[in-house]
């Protein structure tokens, strides 16, 4: 969610119990402004907080050109000093998913270890070799943030448009969803490269507006019911059940929207049992 709107939007997403203390909010207002200048971002988003056993990570994202693709992720332990997270690569994601288990500790240099035995040679000469895989928590953090962005980042339909050049930008004339539209999951889109859009048949594609409907809607998520949509006061609040802690809000008939993640950074793998 936009760091400038943090002050009032945090109230809307705090229904799941986690919020920021006054001290943290004040610190963020100062430090994100400095961050914006130092990295020459056009916009800074406060992404959320990942709870560790000994300390919490605060995550911010800076946007330069393209709202969807040109994102840089930074983390901080005290809301003041920000460090850049390495961009996630496929090998990093594979390593993290293999080695990192359990809760975050809160120390970026903490190393998760996983011992694998591999066989070398063939037949009787096979030698078992122990192979230790080490992954630092910083890498895990980068992988987790990108996974959450990829799987559950949400924007209302029409809030972003794709320009003829292919870049994604905020839609200046976005007026917000109407109350009846806000009640439908199909009016919320995954804010990431679409996965299923290309698989659609021509008949379905015919109704889509290419400058708005260039993302996957939430209504096609598997399993069905992996989102909880509720109206809390005036705002429409979406909570992901796959990544418990991701909350999205949108105030119908206004352009205000945003999402925040506040949780322990663990994916809810038990979801199929819990619905």
């Amino acid at each position: 969610m936009d760091s400038n709107a943090l002050y009032y939007s945090l109230e809307l997403v705090s229904g799941n119990g986690l919020t920021l203390s006054c001290e943290q909010k004040a610190t963020l207002q100062t430090s994100l402004e400095i961050l914006k200048r130092n990295y020459r971002f056009t916009r800074v988003l406060f992404w959320g907080k990942i709870l560790g056993v000994k300390g919490d990570y605060f995550i911010a994202q800076g946007i330069t050109e393209d709202e969807m693709r040109d994102k840089k992720t930074l983390y901080s332990l005290n809301c003041m000093d920000w460090q850049l997270l390495p961009p996630p690569t496929d090998t990093m994601l594979a390593e993290v998913s293999a080695a990192a288990k359990g809760r975050f500790t809160g120390e970026p240099s903490f190393e998760y270890e996983r011992v694998e035995t591999r066989r070398q040679g063939e037949g009787d000469e096979a030698v078992k070799e122990e192979f230790t895989m080490k992954v630092s928590e910083e890498k895990r953090l980068a992988a987790t943030v990108s996974a959450i962005d990829r799987e559950v980042s949400v924007v209302p339909r029409g809030a972003f448009i794709r320009t003829p050049h292919g870049t994604v930008q905020t839609n200046r004339s976005f007026q917000g969803l109407s109350c009846s539209e806000a009640r439908k999951l199909s009016n919320y889109l995954h804010f990431t490269e679409p996965k299923y859009l290309k698989k659609k048949c021509i008949l379905e594609m015919a109704d889509l507006d290419p400058s708005i409907d260039f993302l996957d809607p939430l209504s096609e998520d598997i399993p069905k019911g992996s989102w909880s949509l509720q109206f809390e006061g005036n705002a429409c609040v979406l909570r992901s059940l796959l990544w418990l802690g991701l909350t999205f809000f949108h105030v119908p008939m206004t352009p205000q929207h945003g999402y925040i993640y506040m949780g322990d950074g663990l994916k809810n793998m038990d979801l199929p049992f819990m619905l």
């Binding site: 119990g17 920021l20 203390s21 907080k49 709870l51 056993v53 919490d56 359990g102 909880s228």
Partner: protein, 539 residues
Amino acid sequence: MLPNEDQKMEPPGEVTLNNQTEQAAICFKAFMLKNSTKSNLSLYDHLVRLLTKVMDERPENAVDVIEDMSREVKRAGLRDTQSTLRDTPAVSPAQLLAEQQRALFSRGGGDEAETEEELVETPLPNVAELSFYLEQAGVGLGREETQRISLALKQLVDTQPLQRCRFWGKILGTEGNYLVAEVEYREGEEEEEEGSAQEEGAEEDAKEGGDNDEGEEEEEAQEIDPLPKSTYKPPPVVPKEENRTGVNKFTYFVCREPGLPWVRLPAVTPAQITAARQIRRFFTGNLDAPVVAYPLFPGNEANYLRAQIARISAGTQVSPLGFYQFGEEEGEEEEETARDSFEENPDFEGIPVPEMVDSLSNWVHHVQHILQQGRCVWVNLAEKPEEDFEEEAEEEEKEEEPDEPEPEVGPPLLTPLSEDAELNNTPPWSSRMSSTLIPQYAVAVLRSNLWPGAYAYATGKKFENIYIGWGMKFVGEGYTPPVPPAPQREYPSGEEITEALDPTLEEEQAMKAALEEQRAAQEEAEEMEGDEDEEEEDD
């Protein structure tokens, strides 16, 4: 006009050219004035309106936003001419809720004296203070929401004869959330639970019904071939704990939104607690919803909610060491029997915040531990040892193989948190100070890693617990549902029904020979006996 003057000055060739361009311009204007067959608008009018709008508003980078403005102008034009019929305004859920919440904000009329009296004795919790401290810990529901919850609790206190009331927390559901209040009725004023009597009645009915069926079966069986009877005996039902004891020490009220009516949750039974330990399900937000899960959960969502509340309370309700103490009457000799009551320590001075943060042994559980049986106080089921139907239950529980009805013992009341067990190398609690910049006035905050969403704070003599979350325990490596029990044997296996190889001819003949020999020997023996008998008769 100037053009006319120009025309005079210009040579005749230019005039015709000018006439031509004017002609073309007129033609084009006519084209632009043509009304669209669809929207009955003309481009000319539209451009006029658009440019007027640009002149009025003078937006920055007008060329970039001209498409948007054009669309806006069109939309504005359409709105008026759409229809003379008026839509009935749709009632949004927010409006309905606002209507219901209105009652919260109205001051109940009454005499001044009465209100003063209430102000002194009211069991109403100070939710604002709670939220003030929790916000420093980074926990909270938003200030307006807290205010509404506070008013809703006031409504509850006003309508029920309560001795004690506490905001327990909030449980999130997929379609709605529950606000939970923990209350204690005044002595003797407790209303009989409506549900329980009915339930018991229903159970009895079911039993009677079962008996009747068996009776009928017996009658039929006498007439026809007797059917084999099931030898399965259900494990004995663990009796429920009485109100005001054990897991039912407090009564819980829930409501979906502040302003909606409070609903009293039924008392929890041990069976529900043991079943709740084995399942993982989200709450839906509807108390009557069935809990579809394996193993079967006895009851609906209200019972499931109550069971989870009991488990969460037992695991996460903590207080600073020394805030509570055991009563005087119960001496040291009674160490063996679990003491279930405590009182506030009037001499408690408060523990300095840094010490509270550093050491978990400065925090104690003040809610009784729930045993594997699903009760706080163990009860001996004389007929049978306890069924081992619980897989790995609470890790805080002592591993006990209940081969014999050996009493289960849990950690006693007011056990320090440092004795809590770890789960998958995750420490059960995280503690920290609310502020690093101004530690002088910070509060100590405790976060449960076992029940994500459970928090406690303490500062000076004050402490409070709250739970805001999905009502799910942290299980670490992913949940594995319990496997169904092995199927029962259809028949007792014995010699008669065991398949064997057919005998060969030789074996058959050998068998026959052996049988004949046997028969001959028998006959001889019988003859001998007969002789003896005759002889006896002769005597």
